[in-house]
């Protein structure tokens, strides 16, 4: 990529919440059930006269995610109807949130800089379409098990400037959501779906037109890349799109504002919907769903369920146990799991074992318990008291080494450690033994 064009990317991410029941009905939340249409009711099938009632937990989890992303929370919120025709949407509208989302103005940190979160809102998922050819006819089959599953959408500002950063952002967002234990974010099953809005900024023309102002003006078009179900495809799709748009711009034209899909097999993007057909959603407040007040009391209750902040946890572990975030992040997903992990760290410290080595062994040797770790490193069980007896004996028969150590030849301690191990006929952690011997000297 030459320096002439700067990719400008914003992201929209949909995540299915793992509540027990639906967003507006009591159907079991099981979008991937093996049998089709076994979790439906008049509400999620959009039958006339059915009354949706909002799932309180889904709202609380949305706000929880907003708080974890540093968002402000609207004191008053509501649901709106978003109208469009598609066979997976039986009511002819999706219940979503338009101008009063639960959360707004948050932030996700990436190594390339912060990505501002515009909003986090709650809506209902649609049915699932299965495309088949039956008796020579192309048809679409609809399974409504997924219809009405709580779906959270997280929208960013155009603060992402490369495909790599887009991937990092998406991964970080998934980590945070999994940490809160509100969604499995299974990308293959559609539990987390990525969309990227991509355009290229002509850096040179911006510099000449806009010298005094450091803030850039957004390009006059954007291409929406939809329904990407893996981080790798996100990265590749954006790369492809950057190159495609660069060629169009180089030829003196402007890319068409449109929605494009990504074809993973061919590694290309293709037109799905052009501007002429651009959506006209006719949003209006859903009269079936009364407005929602998020009182100080309720907000505090939700706040009290928040775990230690994700970034803060890594920082603390790095300082306290010398653990690299990129290593330790492989060992847990939910906050609950992180707590159990830290219990193990504490146990390590108590037994004078290196947490760093323990974590290394967990990641690379797939061990799970401290007992396994000890076995692996061949560290035998010896009590401090037993060791003290042996140390006293060794120090007594090696007065020269003791004197040398005290005279400043600190390496002599290694000799003493070796002597103690030989006498004990056991493998004992070096650091532990060294510390014990030092306490005698």
């Amino acid at each position: 990529m030459d320096k002439k064009y700067q990719p400008i990317i914003g992201m929209e991410t949909h995540v299915e919440l793992k509540t027990k029941s639906g967003m507006f009905c009591g159907c079991k939340n099981d979008p991937d059930a093996k049998k089709p249409n076994i979790h439906t009711c008049p509400v999620c099938l959009g039958l006339p006269g059915a009354l949706p009632v909002a799932n309180k937990k889904a709202i609380e989890w949305t706000i929880k995610l907003g708080l974890a992303l540093g968002c402000k929370i609207n004191k008053l919120s509501k649901f709106d109807r978003k109208h469009y025709f598609y066979p997976d949407l039986p009511k002819g509208y999706q219940i979503s949130q338009y101008d009063m989302p639960f959360c707004y103005q948050g932030k996700v940190e990436t190594s390339f800089g912060p990505v501002r979160i515009t909003r986090v809102h709650l809506e209902e998922d649609t049915g699932k379409l299965i495309h088949q050819n039956i008796n020579g006819h192309n048809v679409s089959l609809i399974d409504f098990n997924r219809s009405g599953v709580p779906l959270v959408e997280v929208v960013t500002e155009p603060d992402i400037f490369s495909s790599v950063q887009a991937k990092e952002y998406a991964k970080k967002l998934r980590q945070i959501i999994r940490y809160l234990d509100i969604s499995d974010c299974d990308m293959e099953k559609g539990g987390m779906r990525l969309e990227a809005n991509i355009s290229l900024l002509n850096v040179k023309s911006q510099m000449t037109n806009n010298k005094s102002n450091s803030k850039f003006k957004l390009p006059n078009y954007k291409v929406e890349l939809k329904n990407i179900n893996s981080f790798r495809f996100l990265e590749r799709g954006i790369e492809y799109e950057i190159e495609r748009q660069r060629e169009i711009l180089e030829s003196g034209k402007t890319p068409i504002q449109e929605t494009r899909g990504y074809n993973a097999e061919k590694n290309i993007t293709f037109t799905q919907r052009t501007k002429e057909e651009a959506a006209d959603y006719r949003y209006f407040p859903d009269p079936d769903l009364p407005p929602i007040n998020i009182s100080e009391k309720w907000l505090n209750e939700i706040k009290s369920t928040l775990p230690e902040p994700f970034d803060g946890l890594f920082k603390r572990w790095q300082e306290k146990y010398n653990l690299k975030p990129e290593l330790v992040e492989l060992l847990f997903e939910t906050a609950e799991e992180s707590k159990k992990l830290e219990e193990l760290f504490k146990k390590c410290i108590k037994e004078k074992l290196s947490v760093e080595k323990f974590v290394n062994a967990m990641v690379h040797k797939k061990i799970k318990t401290i007992e396994e770790f000890k076995k692996m490193t061949n560290i035998d069980e010896v009590s401090d008291d037993d060791l003290k007896v042996i140390i006293e004996k060794i120090l007594k028969v090696n007065p020269k080494a003791v004197a040398d150590y005290k005279a400043g030849k600190i390496n002599t301690i290694n000799f003493l450690v070796g002597m103690v191990m030989r006498e004990a006929k056991k493998k004992i952690e070096f650091q532990r033994l060294q510390d014990l011997i030092k306490s005698f000297l």
Partner: protein
């Protein structure tokens, strides 16, 4: 918006949003009808709403929620769910193919 007749394009756009296919005759008919409906609704513009808060519902209710508990009493069995559809296949609703890749 007063005394304006909707254009053919506008009628076709509205029809498309409603997933309707109109004949030329219907387009002409709805041009007149919809225009007069809009004109009628436009009467509301005469009301002074300077000091009125926007209202999205009239029940006066707020904060109506469900507990997150499955209520399988209301769940339909697939046969019930598909009972009123003409077009089905193995407990799935069937429609003409829609655009996909």
């Amino acid at each position: 918006m007063s005394k304006k007749t909707l254009s053919t394009e506008e009628i076709l756009h509205i029809a498309k949003l409603g997933n309707l296919t109109l004949t030329e005759k219907e387009v002409e008919l709805f041009k007149k009808q919809l225009s007069s409906v809009i004109e009628y609704i436009d009467k509301l513009q005469e009301v002074d709403t300077k000091n009125v808060e926007p209202l999205s519902q009239t029940t006066g209710l707020t904060d109506i929620f469900r507990k997150d508990e499955p209520d399988e009493k209301r769940t339909l069995i697939p046969e019930e769910a598909l009972k009123n559809t003409k077009s089905k296949e193995n407990n799935l609703f069937k429609v003409k193919a829609v655009l996909t890749e």
